[in-house]
Structures are given as structure tokens and as C-alpha cells.
């Protein structure tokens, strides 16, 4: 994360960020539920420059048999980036990064899905990143959650993810100076910023399902960033619910 901060000014005197957002402002988010008719549940999501499709299959008998759990269902999320999703072609196939994201996403979703209703089964979630612009794991998890609800999977809550981070700090004489905690990092902020903190929660209880950190934050900064990220999650959660109701009940306004 140590970047050439001198080259790009990530936050200006008026507190505006490179893309003109305020520190606590999200990028534009568009969610649509039930877009694929072959999958049991699906979701298309645009989050800033990210474009994500999530598809859910199951619950179905887990194959091969030795991965089955006799008391509950296993949740299998697969995060994949399309070759054309980044500048310079991404080599297709699972790599260290995508396996990590698949694992943490599976574990986050497993926490809210009521898995003991389906012993020996697997619930498969495919997350395809079509276009990437920082924060794809949050976008992927958010889309996967909508797809799961769309598939009629029993859940305790609809999980949601959002990131916060720190940008604009400079190192003077070995000491970190300045910096600002902001919501939902964009590409430049992710590349040249100081820290990124993706968070996934169950919005009903604020239970944390995923928490990762890249870069350095002091304890106070961490607290502030976490609080900001959770605030962002609640905004995104509202959009998720609106998307589902738009699909299944036309008179959305009355219900919210």
C-alpha cells in the first residue's frame, strides 16, 4: 500500500476525494435480482466501476460424497474474475487471491444460512467479476446475498458488505502524518491509499461476518473506519432489500 502519494492528491483542501465524493459517500450502486433463468437464484450488481453477477444453485446433494456433512449443508462460494475484468488480461483460473476470497465469502454466508435444514447438501454460489474497480469482494458478497434470497434459501438475515479505508497520509521523518478515514475506496484510493478495511455484517444484529485489513491503522482509526463501514453496510442493505422487493412485489414504497 506504500504508494507515491505525492503524485496523486487523494483528498483536497475541501475534503473532496479524487472522484468528487465526500469522505462518507458511497459510489453509485445498482442491484437487480433474478437475472439468470437457469440458476435458482441470481443477482446483477454494479458498484461504481464494478460489475458482478452472482448465481446460486442448490441446496442439492453434495458431490463428491466425502465432502458431505451428515448434519448440515455446506456452503460453497466461488469467486472468479473474468479475464477481461482488469487492465491487462487476468490469467483465468483460481489463484491465491481468488481462493482466499472464495473461502472468506463462503464462511461469511455460512453464518447466516440456516444450514442444518439440509443435511448432506451443498449450496453453491458462483460470483463472477465482469469488471473490477476496487472493492470486488464486498460487491461479490453483497450480490451473492441477494442471489441467495432470490433462490429461496432459508437465512437468518441478508448479509451485506462494504469497505472503509484511510487515504492521504504522508510519512514525514518516519512518522505518519495526516490521513482521512473514508468510505468505499475507489481504484486510485485503493492503490495509493494507506489502508483498506472490508467488512461484512448481518444488518439486523450488526454481527460481523467478515473483517479484513490491508495496510496500517491505529486503534482509534480502526474503530472509526469500522463504524463508518458498518454505516455504509446499512445503506447498501436497504438497496438489496429494495431490489428484491422490486422483483417480487411491485409496490415497494408501501413495504419499506
Amino acid at each position: 500500500m506504500a504508494g507515491n502519494a505525492e503524485e496523486i492528491k487523494l483528498i483536497d483542501e475541501n475534503g473532496r476525494r479524487v472522484d468528487g465524493r465526500k469522505p462518507d459517500e458511497l459510489r453509485k450502486i445498482k442491484i437487480e435480482a433474478g437475472v439468470l433463468h437457469r440458476a435458482e437464484g441470481s443477482c446483477y450488481l454494479e458498484w461504481g466501476g464494478n460489475k458482478v453477477v452472482a448465481a446460486v444453485y442448490g441446496p442439492r446433494e453434495a458431490i463428491p460424497k466425502h465432502i458431505q456433512d451428515p448434519v448440515k449443508a455446506i456452503v460453497n462460494a466461488r469467486y472468479n474474475m473474468a479475464a477481461f475484468s482488469v487492465e491487462d488480461r487476468k490469467k483465468p483460473g483460481p489463484d491465491r487471491r481468488s481462493r482466499e476470497i472464495s473461502k472468506v465469502t463462503s464462511e461469511a454466508l455460512e453464518r447466516v444460512i440456516i444450514t442444518d435444514l439440509f443435511p448432506r447438501a451443498s449450496i453453491d454460489v458462483n460470483i463472477e467479476i465482469l469488471d473490477a474497480e476496487a472493492g470486488t469482494r464486498c460487491a461479490g458478497l453483497t450480490a451473492a446475498a441477494v442471489a441467495l434470497a432470490d433462490a429461496g434459501i432459508p437465512m437468518r438475515d441478508i448479509p451485506v458488505a462494504c469497505a472503509a479505508g484511510k487515504i492521504g497520509a504522508e510519512v514525514v521523518d518516519g512518522k505518519v502524518k495526516g490521513g482521512c478515514i473514508v468510505l468505499d475506496l475507489c481504484k486510485e484510493e485503493d492503490n495509493y491509499g494507506n489502508a483498506d478495511l472490508p467488512v461484512a455484517i448481518a444488518p439486523r444484529t450488526d454481527e460481523i461476518l467478515l473483517l479484513q485489513m490491508d495496510g496500517h491503522l491505529t486503534y482509534e482509526e480502526f474503530e472509526e473506519a469500522l463504524e463508518l463501514a458498518i454505516k455504509g453496510c446499512h445503506i447498501v442493505s436497504k438497496l438489496q432489500r429494495e431490489a428484491l422487493l422490486r422483483k417480487y412485489q411491485p409496490d415497494v414504497e408501501e413495504n419499506l
Partner: protein, 223 residues
Amino acid sequence: MPPPPMRKVVLPGQYLGDSRYLKPGRGTFIEKGKIYAMVLGVFERKGNIVQVIPLKGRYNPVIGDFVIGIIEEAMPSSWLVDINAPYPALLHVSETPWEIEYGDAEKYLKTGDSIMAKVLLIDAERKLQLTLNDRNLYKIRGGHIIDVEPSKVPRIIGKRGSMINLLKRLTRCRIIVGQNGRIWIDGDDENIAKLLLAIRIIEEESVSYGLTDKIERLLKMMT
């Protein structure tokens, strides 16, 4: 947060009421004395029971249900049958009306054949068994099988069979509805096309009121 009014679509994790005054029904769960929806579905309150009728999802088998299955695999003395549940169901040769020698199972039912069957058994591990030993259970010959959401089956049958009888009367098709969301239909091509349209409309507008009347008007208009 007040509980939602009748016939509202609720989402997983949505608050439905207090468990001190209400009883949790299907599609709900209790957490810290409060009832929440577990699946995406339609909220219903009967007396003091609150429940959520799912809008999507796989068929949840119940013992005694009549289902339409498709043979997935024939084994020496049994078959694996897809009944649209999370798990394939087992049909043993002893649960058929035929006398089958060991290894001859495939001569009676091949992969891809369809059967009308009944759910015989579900064990703790959710292993399913079917039977063909009952009235009106047999191998299907002719006709068509269409798939609908299993949760919409009650809507297609209607109150005391009002919808299904209407469909049978006005399209002159033979219709058999499996609880697992598979429907067997037989009739002439023109009538089948009408029936398919009617079923699609029932599926799409299952949340709305007065559907039986609407379908009746539609089918009468087409004849």
C-alpha cells in the same frame, strides 16, 4: 417495528412479531423471543400463527406427498429418482407392482422415464424413499410434464380444487399436479397451449387476489 400486513412479501430476517403473543409457523424462526422470516415469501397470519409461504426454492418433501419423478439412474435392484428435492429419492423394486429379478430393474424403468409416485419415507439424514404401490401410481406414458415453482402448487390447485377444476373444464386437458412442482398434462395441441399460458399467469400473479375469476375470463375469451 410493526408486523407487516397480510399478503405482503417479506425478506429473510424481517421481523414478524413477538413470540409471547404469536406462534411461529412455517418459514419462520425465533431469536431472542422475536419471530423473523426465514425465506423470501408471502406473509400470512392464521389466528395467532404467523407463517411465510416461500415464493421460490426447492420442493420440501413430506411423507405421503404425490410427486412426479424422473429416473436418474437405474441400479440392480433400485432406481434413483429426481423429484426436484435437494436430494435424489430411492425407489426400490419391492415398492413397485412388478416382480423384478435382481439386475432387471432397468428393463422396467430406464433413465429419463417419468413416474407418478408417493413419498414413502424420509429419515433423519433426509434420505428419501418412494413407492409405486398405491392407487393411481404408475409409469407415465405420453403427455407432457411442465415445471412450476413447488410453492405455487397450492395456487394451481386452488381452494378445494377450484382452480384445477376450472382449468380441466375449460381446456379439456387431463391434468395431474405433483406436489413437487411437476405437472403432467395431456390434450390436443391448441388446448395445451391455452393451459400453459394460464399456468404461467397463475405462477406470475400468485400473490394477487381474484386469480380464479381472472383465469376463467381469460380462458373463456380464448375459446
